[in-house]
């Protein structure tokens, strides 16, 4: 880890001022940032510790029915908040399917949203990576890439976004509240993370100094509580990043899907909202045929970025599974193995 100056501002304004300096970056719990610093991937010259900023660790219901989650709320606290888990079960399940209990106890909501890719070439300082070093090239493109992106990738970058938490959040139209030099603004979470295009180094829409202070779930998000699941395929039963994951939420009335929400994880540089699939589902009767059609729609733009064509097939199957399970109804309690196929009844 390269040396840095450490500052602990007392106010959001001071934090923004400090983090607006070149080379400065925010430190929340550090579960991702310190890992990156130890790997030589991140070399900030100033760490701006935001963990003591007042008022950012609250979960509050706003007058318009939306839920505002402070950026410093710990992942575990959010997932284990009974009311939260009841109203946004897929989000709670996604949270609990990620990382380990220790990491969830430390990691913050804001920090999790800023989590960076696990692409091995991004982590390996000896490899060419356009995210780390714009213009260097992408060693993943012709490298070991069976787990890389199948949607929204470019020749410049085929990395995926590793977050579980963000997947149901984008499905539920979550919004991030940002404080920056120009004051406060809001951004749909779906626009926070960027697809690589020509500028893979620009991973998010944030500007220097911008601080995520809260995450907001709109009132409508609760409407999917009775039919919501998060399913994640991984190479261990627990403590592994997703090969592919899916969050599904359905609003079912009179035997018809009134509204559907669907997002995929592990397939693109951002949590992937599948709006085409949602349109296929809207108004349809919840059955296997329409799930399959939705799955096809969700992956219609997919193409392998390397040795990963199977992920297109797998992603379609996981969409079908997530929809099937969501339609069957949210379980009363989050499964023993959150997100795992083995925690639920197979679709067969």
């Amino acid at each position: 880890m390269m040396n840095f100056d450490y500052v602990r501002p007392a106010s959001v304004a001071d934090a923004i001022a400090a983090a607006s300096e070149k080379g400065a970056t925010y430190l929340a719990s550090g579960t991702n940032l310190l890992d990156l610093m130890k790997g030589g991937v991140s070399r900030p010259s100033v760490l701006v510790d935001v963990t003591r900023l007042p008022g950012l660790d609250r979960i509050e219901r706003l007058a318009d029915g939306s839920l505002r989650i402070g950026a410093l709320v710990r992942n575990a606290d959010l997932a284990h908040d009974a009311e939260f888990a009841r109203n946004y079960p897929a989000v709670a399940e996604a949270l609990l399917s990620g990382a380990s209990a220790q990491l969830r106890n430390a990691a913050t909501v804001g920090g999790n949203l800023m989590q960076r890719t696990r692409c091995a070439y991004f982590y390996d300082a000896g490899s060419a990576c356009n995210r780390r070093w714009p213009g260097a090239g992408c060693d993943a493109l012709k490298g070991e890439n069976r787990l890389h992106a199948v949607l929204g990738w470019s020749e410049g970058c085929i990395a995926t976004h590793p977050s579980d938490f963000s997947v149901p959040l984008v499905a539920l139209d979550a919004v991030v509240e940002i404080e920056g030099k120009a004051g406060r603004r809001e951004l749909p979470l779906g626009e926070l993370h960027r697809l690589p295009g020509e500028t893979p180094e620009r991973e998010t829409a944030l500007e220097r100094g911008d601080l995520i202070v809260a995450l907001r779930l709109p009132a409508t998000a609760q409407g999917f509580a009775r039919h919501a699941r998060y399913i994640k395929v991984r190479e261990r039963t627990s403590y592994a990043f997703a090969v592919v994951s899916a969050a599904a939420g359905l609003r079912i009335e009179d035997g018809k899907i009134r509204e559907a929400r669907l997002a995929l994880g592990g397939v693109a540089a951002k949590p992937w909202r599948a709006r085409e699939a949602e349109q296929v589902l809207a108004g349809a009767a919840p059955d296997a045929a329409v799930y399959r059609e939705a799955a096809r729609a969700a992956l219609s733009g997919a193409k392998p970025s390397g040795d990963n064509a199977f992920k297109i097939e797998l992603a379609q199957r996981i969409v079908v599974r997530a929809l099937t399970l969501a339609a069957r109804g949210t379980p009363d309690r989050i499964a023993a193995l959150p997100g795992s196929p083995f925690s639920s009844v197979a679709g067969a």
Binding site: M1, N3, G30, A76, S100, A101, Q102, L103, N105
Partner: protein, 165 residues
């Protein structure tokens, strides 16, 4: 840069002046305070050997900057037993042979204690396995670990239940 911080470690308040912001809680404990029971297996939050309790919660001390934890209350494996007596989780690990080489063991035990305090697993072995999955054991003592956590939890909760009954 001198960074003063105050930590309560295993019940003892310590005033520490750190000359280096890079020091993690893990390295502070191991290299500067001679509390070497907490182990470094990966230093990257991937193995759980460094698990300690910070303000009552189990975390990976390798991914925590010491300077960021001013005022924290820390419990390590050295602070678990009381008055020379083993904590029920420690005793259960011995009884169930929940370790072989012993290197991951302090982290496993702190994680088990953290899990029992979290109260999320109940007596379901599947939930215990899931909730202990942040602690790798290369020797493969998982079955003993799961049994030990379940038994210790029952042991700890039993008097409480009697009182409330």
């Amino acid at each position: 840069m001198n960074l003063p911080l105050s930590l309560t470690i295993n019940g003892v308040r310590r005033e520490i002046v750190l000359d280096d912001p890079r020091v993690t809680l893990l390295d502070l404990l191991r290299e500067r305070l001679d509390l070497t029971g907490t182990k470094k297996g990966c230093d990257r939050g991937q193995c759980g050997a460094c698990t300690i309790l910070v303000d009552g919660r189990r975390i990976n001390s390798c991914l925590a900057l010491a300077v960021s934890h001013d005022g924290a209350e820390i419990i390590t494996i050295e602070g678990v037993g009381r008055g020379g007596e083993l904590h029920p989780v420690q005793a259960a690990f011995i009884a169930h042979d929940g370790f072989q080489c012993g290197f991951c063991t302090p982290g496993q035990i702190m994680s088990g204690i953290g899990l029992i305090q979290e109260g999320q697993a109940g007596d379901d072995p599947e939930r215990v396995r899931e909730c202990m999955s942040g602690n790798l054991c290369r020797c493969g003592a998982y079955q003993g670990i799961t049994e030990a956590v379940l038994e210790a939890q029952a042991d700890i909760n039993a008097p409480k239940q009697r009182r409330s009954a």
